[in-house]
Amino acid sequence: MIHFVLLISRQGKVRLTKWYSPYTQKERTKVIRELSGLVLSRGPKLCNFVEWRGFKVAYKRYASLYFCMCTDHEDNELEILEIIHHFVEILDRYFGSVCELDLIFNFHKAYYILDELLIAGELQESSKKTVARLIAAQDSLVEAAKEERSSISTIIAQATK
């Protein structure tokens, strides 16, 4: 099971956090501080895993952003790395060449996507297409709601004229 997902920039800034196991706010801060110290200081030629407090953290760097996932000791690290990559590919498809700035301003969208990919710390969907379709369905609903709202406001505007 995945216990949490962290996105940290190279400067150690938090870009996204998702906790699947209960952690208090204080613990979270501590976890982030410990792990960013651990992960950011590692050289490029070392392996993408860190053992940490009896858990394993797999991380991968994309441009200046580190994606970290913490799992149980018996999980398959290579698989976790690929789940990270899977997530990035979906983000990439959604945002169209995703960059860090997309995630900074649209963190809530990244959350929605993550919710379609992982649930309760387990991979729920391994098909990129399915995830993309679901997110698109949700977005189209949002668009519809917007249109509705604007049409109502035009009606009101006309009525008040």
Binding site: I83, E89, G96, E100, A120, Q124, L141, A145
Partner: protein, 964 residues
């Protein structure tokens, strides 16, 4: 690009995000966020906030919380938002509450009702949002409130809903297994779902179920194997492919389950061999995910009943891993640790790789290697391994790992210690450096070990152990800053055995003990141990008839402690004073020497009180009733109470009260509504078929029962129409069996001879230029690896083995024991070459795309991110951040060796690739960028600049494509 409309927030929010982005320090960031919290606190309670505004506030709260600050003042507003009718707002509300609230939060009770309502919605997106929340928020107490609805959703028309419902049930199972135990049959049903996504999701709960109880799921082995086979044969929809691998995540999950099911079960394992062999052959070792599957396959092979062919394949895969990059080395070491349990010889082949990993600068790899060494420790190499571990333990600061490695050292030392002296030395080192981290039990264990000896009935050896302990402790005791636990051990041992061999005088040892008590005057436990030790020493002296002269510092210590704040210390001090005044015989009775090993008999029935009890009963006291009887009486006397009990056990009620009915005849309150559709299914109790050949038809014949998995249906689901039906596979397997029976004898001999050949080949190989130091280490770790004596030993091994084969020919009587040294006698022949002709023909064909990817993974691509063109002002910085590979490619001016749209393959992006000259890059060499991204990034950049969020010079890479 609907996604680009994401910057729909107000200027204020964008400014916040921007200022956080530009903050130079954590404290500056904190200051900004605290300001934001103040603003939000004020704003959020204003009356009549428009809903859209509120939504933004909630998202800002999420942001605040994400950055590690407390936004609890706004939780209630997020909860309110989940009640909203519009999906847009509801979704935001749900997102916020799932991020804010842990499952034990008080506010959850307010959401349960909304969730119940939303689970019934006819908009599947609403249901999905609610199910997401269910997975995060529902706790043990609230499970009954939503369980019936979630179960109902298993039959929903949308696969996304079914999938999430399964995941929710899985979550419930984790929270409280009892709540969903009656639903296990549903998991079996959804395993046959026509949507592979739902099937894949079902594997998560099934994995947990199998982990807990292997036996009752043995009948699923065939289904899992058939699913795995179909997946491996690419029968799933293309969209489940990942980097040209067919549904690797599902494969991995299945392999994990099979490993559990096949563990220690020869018959089940034999059914898996073929498919495992297939996967070994098909997995693509050029890509990461291929290796992930391969690794899982090795784990599976090492768990199930061993098969020599598969073990060979696993060993080959491991040796490939160990020759690759760091990640794979790590996995290789891990896999080696798993395989070593079955074939202990395998480590020898890789000894030099292992030693390289042990000396690697990468800490993670080093630790993994220590784990491996821990697993392969024997009495012959324990000294080297434990010494290495201790050296490493001393060098690190990570307390968690220090504790772990210390306890491992202790465990190994206890198990394999070659001599008492070494054992004591090792324990001293461990305690000295990690004393405060090791469990106190370890210390007690050590004391007991010194007291009782190693279990041999050799008193001489025991007393030697003790005197060597005493000697080493007297040497160590003067060192500054020893851990408390270690001092306790030292004090106890000195008190108990300090004067036992007559080497040291009592006054010498008491002096040392007083020094300890003085030096660690803050540690009451140590002082208590010290004074008790003093008491013992004096007692032995008195009992031996010697005159006790108490050193002045001891006297002052006793006086100090008898006035101590701690009553425990006081009591010990007074006891000591009283003891000194007694005569020799009394002292010997009170403090017999070496009494720690004596068994103390405890009179549990307190028979010595019988007389007293009888007396008081005669005087009219109530006789004692045991507690068990007391509760039993309560139960029978107030039977109605029970119902109440049960009702209250389920906690809160979440449904509306029942309408009043005229007569309610003995209806117990139903808080936990049994789902009516699901008839509680009795435990699946299929007697497992003894022969493989008969197992398949029996399944299809009894397929009429609801529960049973209908395999034929599964097979056809994703397959091409001409896929073979169950009957043919049966005949195939049965014919295979007979072949096995006939060919058995020859195969044994050939396989052993082959193994011999390969092993000797492998042994010869690594002898090129190895430093003598490493060789020595290898020799001590693996035992005799040097050129001359290695081959004879290993080949003699083989000889012994093959001879054992011949003697143990009748296979029926052999016990199923994975750890047994001799390999299984009856290996099904040529499992790895058994595949269908179509497969073998396609296997050697190397997919050109995969080759491309392999190249890409090695980083030989010189394409420059298109954003360079946009932000032409700072290209060098960008390039430097873009990993060394690109930079080297740039400087070298290497012409891109990859055919044009190699990039697009990796990123999965389509569209006509736009050519652009790399700024400042390899002049003239055309590099290709991802399709539509140039335009996109221009738009993005323009949009961002419009809003005033100009990327500063500090982090120009915000625009950088993550996928590169």
């Amino acid at each position: 690009m609907g996604s680009q409309g994401g910057f729909g927030q107000s200027k204020e929010f964008l400014d916040l995000v921007k200022s956080i982005g530009e903050a130079r320090s954590k404290s500056e960031e904190d200051r900004i966020i605290l300001g934001e919290i103040e603003t939000l606190k004020r704003r959020i309670v204003e009356p009549d906030i428009p809903k859209r505004k509120m939504k933004e506030y909630i998202i800002r709260l999420v942001y605040v919380e994400m950055l590690g600050h407390d936004a609890s003042f706004g939780y209630i507003h997020a909860v309110k938002m989940t009640h909203d009718d519009s999906l847009l707002l509801k979704r935001t509300g749900y997102l916020a509450v799932t991020l804010f609230l842990n499952e034990d939060h008080d506010l959850i009770i307010l959401i349960v009702n909304t969730i119940q309502k939303d689970l019934r919605s006819d908009n599947y997106l609403v249901v999905c949002a609610a199910l997401n929340a269910v997975c995060r928020l529902i706790n043990e107490e609230t499970i009954p409130a939503v369980l019936p609805q979630v179960v109902e959703l298993l039959g929903h028309a949308k696969e996304a809903v079914r999938k999430k419902a399964i995941m929710a049930l899985h979550r419930f199972y984790q929270k409280s297994p009892a709540s969903v135990l009656h639903l296990i049959s549903n998991f079996r049903k959804t395993l046959c779902d026509k949507d592979p996504g739902v099937m894949g999701a079902t594997l998560c709960p099934l994995f947990d179920l199998v982990t807990v109880d292997v036996k009752s799921h043995k009948d699923l082995v065939i289904s899992f194997i058939s699913i795995l086979k179909q997946v491996a044969e690419k029968r799933l929809p293309k969209s489940y492919d990942y980097h040209q691998m067919p549904a690797p995540f599902i494969q991995i999950k299945l392999l994990k389950i099979l490993a559990l099911l096949g563990s220690g079960d020869k018959q089940a394992s034999e059914q898996m061999y073929t498919v495992l062999g297939d996967i070994f052959r098909k997995s693509d070792t050029l890509i990461n995910i291929g290796n992930a599957v391969l690794y899982e396959c090795i784990c599976c092979v090492s768990c199930i009943y061993p098969n020599p062919k598969l073990l060979d394949a696993a060993a080959d895969a491991i040796s490939k891993f160990l020759k690759s990059d760091h990640n794979l080395k790590y996995m290789g070491i891990d896999a080696l640790g798993r395989l070593i349990k079955i074939s202990p010889d395998i480590a020898e082949q890789h000894q030099l790789a292992v030693i390289d990993c042990l000396e690697d600068p990468d800490d993670t790899l080093k630790r993994k290697t220590f784990e491996l060494l821990y697993k392969m420790t024997k009495s012959s190499n324990v000294e080297v391994i434990v010494n290495r571990m201790i050296d490493y333990m001393i060098s690190i600061n990570d307390n968690h790992y220090k504790t772990e490695i210390a306890s491992r050292c202790v465990e190994l030392a206890e198990q394999f210690a070659p001599s008492n002296h070494w054992f004591i030395q090792t324990m001293n080192k461990v305690f000295e450096h990690a004393g405060d981290l090791v469990n106190i039990k370890v210390a007690h264990n050590l004391m007991r070990l010194i007291a009782e000896g190693f279990g041999e009935d050799d008193d001489n050896a025991d007393s030697q152990l003790r005197s060597s302990a005493v000697e080493s402790y007297l040497r160590i005791i003067a060192e500054p800053k020893l851990p408390s636990v270690f001092l306790q051990v030292i004090c106890w041992v000195l008190g108990e055995y300090g004067t036992a061999d007559g080497k040291y005088s009592a006054s010498y040892i008491t002096g040392k003990l007083c020094d300890v008590a003085e030096a660690y005057s803050n540690d009451e436990t140590v002082k208590a141990y010290a004074i008790t030790a003093l008491m013992k020493l004096y007692a032995y002296e008195i009992a031996a008839g010697r005159k006790v002269d108490i050193l002045p510092e001891c006297q002052s210590l006793i006086e100090e402690l008898s006035a101590s704040h701690s009553t425990d210390l006081q009591q010990r001090a007074y006891e000591l004073q009283a003891l000194i005044g007694l005569d020799a015989r009394a002292v010997e009775t009170v403090m017999p020497s070496d009494a720690s090993c004596e068994d103390i008999e405890i009179d549990k029935s307190l028979s010595f009180l019988n007389h007293y009890v009888q007396e008081s009963v005669e005087k009219g006291a109530q006789p004692y009733i045991p507690e068990s009887e007391r509760t039993g009486m309560l139960n029978t006397s107030s039977f109605r109470n029970e119902d109440h009990h049960e009702a209250s056990m389920h906690g809160l009620r979440f449904e509306a009260y029942d309408l009043p009915k005229p007569v309610v005849p003995s209806k117990s309150p139903v808080t936990y509504t049994p789902s009516t559709e699901l008839v509680p299914v009795p435990e699946p109790s299929y007697s497992r078929e003894v022969h493989t050949s008969t197992a398949v038809p029996s399944i299809s014949s009894s397929g009429s029962t609801e529960l049973k998995l209908r395999l034929d249906g599964v097979q056809k689901k994703w397959g091409r129409p001409n896929y073979s039906s169950g009957s043919t596979s049966t005949s195939e397997s049965s014919s295979q069996k007979t072949v096995n029976g006939v060919a058995q004898t020859e195969i044994v001999s050939t396989s052993t001879s082959r193994a011999q050949a390969t092993s000797s080949f492998d042994l010869k190989k690594p002898q090129v230029e190895i430093s003598p130091e490493k060789q020595r280490l290898a020799a001590s770790l693996f035992g005799g690896p040097s050129k001359t004596d290695k081959r004879p030993t290993s080949s003699s091994h083989k000889v012994v083995k093959s001879s054992s084969h011949t003697t143990e020919r009748p296979p029926a009587a052999k016990p199923v024991d994975a750890s047994e040294k001799s390999t299984p006698v009856q290996p099904p022949p040529d499992l790895l070459d058994l595949g269908e002709p179509t497969v073998t023909s396609s296997a050697p064909l190397i997919d050109p795309f995969k080759q491309l990817e392999g190249l890409l993974d090695q980083g030989e691509n010189v394409s420059v991110p298109n954003h360079g063109a946009v932000n032409a002002t700072k290209p060098p910085e960008m390039m430097s951040l873009y990993a060394e590979i690109a930079a080297s490619g740039q400087s070298g001016g290497v012409v891109n060796p990859i055919p044009t749209n190699g990039d697009d393959l990796l990123s999965g992006l389509s569209g006509g690739s736009i050519k652009t000259a790399a700024p400042g890059g390899a002049a003239g060499s055309p590099s290709l960028s991802k399709g539509p991204s140039l335009k996109d990034s221009l738009e993005k950049d323009a949009l961002v600049r419009q809003m005033g969020v100009t990327p500063t010079s500090q982090n120009p890479n915000l625009f950088k494509d993550l996928l590169g």
